[in-house]
Symmetry: C2
Subunit: 144 residues, 2 copies
Amino acid sequence: MQEEEKVLMQCLFFTSNRFARNITKLAEKNFDFSDLAPSYFYMIMVIHGQPNITQKELCQKLSIAPSTSTRFIEKLVKQNLVRKQTSGKQTMISLTEDGEALYVAFRKGLKSLFEDYNEILGKELSMNLSLMLHEASQKLEKNN
Amino acid sequence: MQEEEKVLMQCLFFTSNRFARNITKLAEKNFDFSDLAPSYFYMIMVIHGQPNITQKELCQKLSIAPSTSTRFIEKLVKQNLVRKQTSGKQTMISLTEDGEALYVAFRKGLKSLFEDYNEILGKELSMNLSLMLHEASQKLEKNN
DNA sequence: CACTATCATTTGCATATACAAATATAAGGA
DNA sequence: TCCTTATATTTGTATATGCAAATGATAGTG
């Protein structure tokens, strides 16, 4: 094997971005009940779990930039899936009925996504990978 | 912990995208000797390792879509870092002198990126993660 | 009570990345 | 040799995502 290929296998920047692209494709297949990209569903899920969550908390839980959250919420409001309520500096977000309904559909899609990748990658690898990625993100984020 | 947070930890779509965002930030810091995003350097590296590589092979090695490779190469040509030569259907790519020079700088940046994340994540975790991500990508890609 | 510093959100702008359709080229069969 | 099919690249379009600057709002200090 060429030296360059070894680097591609060993570099976390490359391997993680490549993997993210691949798994995103799989996720899109499983979340085809709506025209939203997968990430939106994770936002919906977090709001479901904590109604009236502030935008800032949302950013933290999802590890996204504030501007990204503004754009996401904008789109979800336009589709009548979430509601925003400003209170001073902060903005609080909660799901509409349509949002709750979509959340239910999402749970099903999530289940089939899990089945899909457990099948392809094996349960062992899937589990370990996600836990390690979680741990690694925490370490990187603490280090900022 | 809320059930929703557990899902965020366990879902490979979420954990891998989150991690990719985090490590990309670190990579950008280490590749600040040029205005190119990290991904371009990996393309440059592959071309360095196999001059006159076809565009299609590049796509395969980097796991990117053909249209993405067109756009990347366009930009690199404009910056006089790579050269393209068409031969029939195919296009062959190689580095210019400037490209080779930038490759040398990139290797240094790569080294310091590795040091950075080995320090933050630990060597063990870093190694395991990248190998597992590589393995998992191969499995997902074979499954298409 | 005014003013300044701090904090949360939004806006402007840029970019990596993909899919689908269009185009260009080659290859193989009649 | 022409026509059809297959393959490689490009183009049009869309979108997630971020950074930096702008805005809006509070809170604490003199």
